[in-house]
Symmetry: C2
Subunit: 269 residues, 2 copies
Amino acid sequence: MKRSDRLVSLMNYFLENPKEHTSLPSFSDKYKAAKSSISEDLSIVDRIMQEEGIGYLQTLSGVSGGVSFIPDFSRENSNQFIDELCHTLQDSSRILPGGYLYMSDILGDPKMVNQIGRVLASAFSHLEIDVVVTVATKGIPLAYATASVLNVPVVIVRRDPKVTEGSSVSINYVSGSSRKIQTMVLPKRSLRDGANVCIIDDFMKAGGTINGMTSLLGEFNAKVQAIGVLAEADDEEDEREVDSFTSLVKIKNVNMKQKTIEVRHGNFV
Amino acid sequence: MKRSDRLVSLMNYFLENPKEHTSLPSFSDKYKAAKSSISEDLSIVDRIMQEEGIGYLQTLSGVSGGVSFIPDFSRENSNQFIDELCHTLQDSSRILPGGYLYMSDILGDPKMVNQIGRVLASAFSHLEIDVVVTVATKGIPLAYATASVLNVPVVIVRRDPKVTEGSSVSINYVSGSSRKIQTMVLPKRSLRDGANVCIIDDFMKAGGTINGMTSLLGEFNAKVQAIGVLAEADDEEDEREVDSFTSLVKIKNVNMKQKTIEVRHGNFV
């Protein structure tokens, strides 16, 4: 196979298999090329990945030597994306009763969702994460987009148990903003004991839902390494029950009467 | 930019932007290269895409000339993937009360989910589809994976209305297998009138849920162009309420007593 052909094939392979370790000899075998040629290929791929701001190739030498693609959305790409997101969200027709914001169109756009996942995953790529956890339903696409980049599975906490998931662990918790008692359920066999977890959700107000998830995860001795949300509501900051989290955007000053809204960068940067 | 660099960058661009039309001059500008060089690049990319069985580049000549990446998972890749899927599912420890099958681990694996999406999208890539519709919760990741390849948005039908989605249309329907009356809700502004729709779900027994969705979609004058499911239950075939659909696998002969199960290729091939 010629270099040009190998480069196209390699790029496809790396993008399909983020954070997966592959040995150099296996590339040599696949492409019937010398290791030195493969090394040159990899340095070209690595350079372009960095120039495009999508990540880099990490090389490990030694017996277990090889290479893996570490997705790492550049600061520039991330900032530009969050700028656009703020602009899109700052549209007064999005204001819904109760100070909520209509975001279903954004959460329904796979390309948008994949970009959000890339930004969140880049923020957490240096952490040890075994699994991404979210709660049904709105956070699900974001959780998959993030997990896809981190190359880990997704576990979904539900509000109601399902017959198709076997026995479950459930907790009751008090929702932060409405002060109502709610239930959360996680199937027993969905999460191993002591896993390193990253929580992903679409929206955080006072943080009651995420606190509930943390309690439920405690029953599995999980270690919450990171919390990432698309948007946080600024006005609930004082009563917030969650300390450390990453948000892409912050919703400020939702004025139902005047139909105005302010959307700023979150604490991501 | 050199050819080798361009090839890596182009491959990244196409994989990120499936089914998106891009003009040749815009590539010439971006890479500061002659149109003839770009044409040669594209033919290399196209050839390798076809060799790897992931799709091809579609070229349109004329004033609106340009190129788009059409993802098209090869029959060979699809069959091999479905083989593995059957093998994984045919594990007796997956049998749950009621003849259900534990599939949360598969549906929780982003790589698996993306592959399923690729296979389903390939089956529907020749159809005109404006939006992928699914019902909460298990079908959601499959819907996004499919929509991502088809480059269309996802709309999620819910069992309960949400304050964050504005006014909604709801219907009641009779579930096929349990004969219970259930509700389905779709926010008014989530789907435009007369859209071409592809329904995606994880599991189909008698087909009541999908029938319910079809009725609800009727309220939006939507045209259901395709129905795709990961798995169908074979034993419900006689009473099935849905005629035309695509399934990747077929669950046969679930024997709760002897703890045996048979999983075969669905009607995909």
